[in-house]
């Protein structure tokens, strides 16, 4: 029964049509922008660029992910959809998982799609591409779990975007560190698995901790309405 409900919610999130897809694409555009501007700023030094590339792509991915968090739940809260779900007896954490999973699918696909071009541009060898893609996917999902929590907590606060980045930044650091280490290990020809496993562990930890906390945050936001 839970699976059917999840699938129903997930389909609803993915099938919202053009406005949401445009949001996801604009996130990818922001990602490209950061990743394109940086090499231009560093100047013609391929060696230096390749050294920085892993870190750079990670920072671009994380920064471009943040603006979307603000909007994750606002529309559903305002329209009364969350209240409707509660009255149907649908647990909100299930909705939160579906929301995050839906947004993850929509936002990570264009990002993975342009990753090969970016790594060529930065002089990364294509051999490290799988590690980069995998670590980014795991890392972005971990970020999304945190971002959902921050979005729930800052619901109803004015200037919530600012509050959100302050809330999320410290928690983001381990994700960033392990992610970059994975990519750098793979560039240096060392095994990246230990780092990716740590990243996965983090992601799982957040997957257990964050959605229930987000549910709590959303419920108190509903209470305040």
């Amino acid at each position: 029964m839970m699976m059917t409900l999840f699938w129903l919610l997930f389909k609803g999130e993915v099938g919202k049509g053009w406005p949401v897809i445009a949001d996801a694409l604009s996130q990818a555009a922001f990602f490209i922008m950061i990743a394109v501007l940086f090499p231009l700023a560093v100047g013609p030094a391929p060696d230096r660029l390749a050294e920085l590339a892993g870190a750079l792509i990670w920072i671009a991915a994380l920064l471009s992910a943040i603006p979307a968090f603000d909007r994750l739940f606002i529309e559903d809260m305002r329209s009364g959809w969350c209240e409707q779900l509660l009255s149907y007896g649908t647990p909100l954490w299930l909705y939160i998982y579906a929301k995050l999973a839906g947004w993850f699918v929509l936002s990570i696909l264009p990002l993975i799609g342009i990753l090969p071009f970016l790594s060529i541009m930065m002089g990364l060898s294509l051999a490290s591409l799988p590690v980069l893609a995998l670590s980014l996917s795991v890392g972005v999902f971990a970020m999304l779990l945190l971002g959902g929590l921050a979005a729930g907590l800052s619901m109803g606060a004015r200037r919530s975007a600012m509050l959100l980045s302050v809330l999320i930044l410290p928690l983001m650091l381990p994700v960033l560190i392990f992610g970059v280490m994975a990519v750098e290990a793979s560039i240096a020809g060392q095994p990246a698995w230990p780092h990716i496993k740590l990243l996965l562990a983090l992601c799982l930890f957040f997957a257990v901790i964050c959605p229930p906390a987000t549910q709590f945050a959303l419920k108190s936001a509903i209470e305040e309405r």
């Binding site: 129903l8 209240e83 409707q84 009255s87």
Partner: protein
Amino acid sequence: MPLVINRLAIRRAGRVLLNEMSWQLSAGQAIIIKGANGSGKTSLLRTIAGFIPPMSGDILLGDSRFDPHQPNSPLTLSYYGMADGLGEHLTGRDALIRYQKFRQRTVKQPDSPDIDRFSCVPFIDTEIKQLSTGQRQRIALTRLCLDLAAKEEDNLWLLDEPDSGLDTEGRLALEEMISDMLASGGRVMIASHLSKKMRFAHRVLDLSLNSKQQGQ
């Protein structure tokens, strides 16, 4: 099993809106909640719907605490409020089909004559965001018609001004729908300014009397 409201008190934004109210709502009964703006009609409905925890007092179903958000709640709760949660990007038809799926019912087509009491057929395949307020409202009320068509459930309707944007025809349909729900053993609470016309009420709760006594 009656729904028992026992010495319920609600506080919103530091102000006590309702104090020590007690009453019961049995199957097939309706209560109309009257009162000036800000007297706590919506807060009362939202408290019973479980969106706001009460300051004190209990909401019981028989002997046990009533938790409408449990997946297997003995009462099927339908909350109708200002924010309808229909889904802007959906058509009316999709929204109504989605509603039945979330309720885990067998899906009925919302344009069949026994369900379409609010004459939504002309705009049922239009996206919700393109509808007028009244049209949206009629789609949202059609969800209640679907409750009525799913006969095996024990319903609790909490309706926050369901009649505000409706034309005469819509109001008649609304009254008829509520009467039918009561006849089939449902429970209904309605917050409304236009309660004189509603003949089915078993009790009228006037909140403005309550809040005047308390002041701050």
